[in-house]
Symmetry: C2
């Protein structure tokens, strides 16, 4: 579904008190970000908000208007603290309904697991007009409402939902990248990095320092949507490091 | 510095293309969140934005106005892609200066490391009127400008800066929490959770399901700023689970 003529963008809203309290380490930002790269969609912004209706509405309405796609994770379970569906329906200005297809999926899933209780039926609720994102792990589906994709908070379930969406969204040319590592203090090559980037206009160079084994190093990530420009910029940087007596490690350290 | 009469809030802006591309897994959200809990400061919102001046300015200006404290991580190194200080100075409407104390720290640090080059001197630049946050790892300090705390992106350096700030910020009563684990599907106890929370007004109960060893479980986190209410709510939930024939595991599973 690649469309090289324009850039497609997305935002992510991570919903959950447990992330903001530090109790749970978020894993969805990294996995959604990496997945979007492969789809040729640029992740522009992430917000983490509490299980709080006005906070969810604000983030969803600003970010869905600004981007081609908006993803959310968290708050779609069966318990009282799961308010994402209601908040997003309010943001979209539509009522919440019990989605017949979701209800059927849950009835089937819970046949051998004690039946579909009122609490479990909460997971069949969607904004009116929504379609479903399959979840082969626990039955309860994710939800697509317009350009908003409502996904689970549990990372393994989110992964399954992303898998179900793979290849279904229109994206542009993916941003390509090359990584070079080098045992050098980034401050020693700041001029080289700036000048190499300037000489290769469609390319950006990011510099990510680290410390280890008593030494200072950095990885340099060159990004471009053009494969040839990317290769030329990477070559120039490797040569520039070489001219300073530094060896570049392809793929990074 | 506890002030029990009001709630203190903070926001965090994580700055960096490398997080949005999925290349780097953020570790600062969790560590800043956990640190704020201990300071009695509530983390209300996190935004992850690109190395992009307008995006940084927008996030900083909205969030510093809404909260007692705003923290940022990332983009304060010596290379061309480190634009955080310039963007925040612009957000605050002040010029960027070379901070004399920061310059002295860096001169000292680089005496035995090849001297203070122009690139390294970039790390002494601050918004005018700022004070410094010590960094005992690499010399380059963090920056406090008004209620904005500008910190490193490398998690171990951020940790050192947080350590230097520990106990220096006014906070309120810390939010206390208790965790109970139980091998039960959360949908089976949704009513119990809702009713227990309702019966204990100053308490919130969060439900965090998981799957493991072929079984379904959940951790329930009870939060309150009142120690006695917290204990009473926790007891009620343990008894409620017991009445359903389920054993609560103190501290969680």
């Amino acid at each position: 579904m690649a469309n090289s003529s324009r850039i497609f963008t997305a935002a992510l809203v991570v919903i959950g008190d447990e992330i903001l309290s530090g109790r749970t380490h978020d894993k969805n930002i990294a996995q959604v970000a990496a997945w979007l790269q492969v789809q040729g969609i640029r992740l522009k912004e992430v917000r983490v908000v509490a299980d709080d209706t006005p906070a969810i509405i604000e983030a969803v309405n600003i970010l869905r208007a600004r981007n081609d796609y908006l993803f959310t994770t968290g708050g779609i379970g069966p318990t009282h603290d799961d308010i994402t569906v209601d908040a997003i329906a309010q943001a979209l200005g539509v009522p919440v309904i019990v989605h017949p297809e979701a209800r059927a999926i849950l009835e089937d899933y819970y046949t051998t697991r004690g039946g579909l209780t009122e609490a479990r039926l909460r997971m069949a609720r969607t904004p009116q007009g929504a379609s479903l994102i399959p979840n082969r792990y626990t039955g309860a589906p994710g939800i697509r409402a317009g350009n908003v994709f409502i996904m689970a908070g549990v990372p393994s379930i989110t992964a399954g939902m992303l898998e179900a969406l793979t290849g279904t969204l229109e994206g542009g040319a993916p941003l390509l990248c090359e990584t070079i590592g080098c045992w050098v203090g980034e401050s020693e090559v700041a001029d080289l990095l700036r000048e190499t980037e300037k000489a290769h206009e469609s390319c950006q160079i990011g510099s990510y320092p680290f410390w280890g084994e008593g030494r200072t190093g950095a990885n340099f990530v060159i990004r471009s949507i053009d494969r040839e420009h990317l290769a030329a910029c990477t070559r120039a940087l490797v040569e520039g490091l070489g001219a300073l007596g530094r060896e570049a490690v392809p793929g990074g350290i």
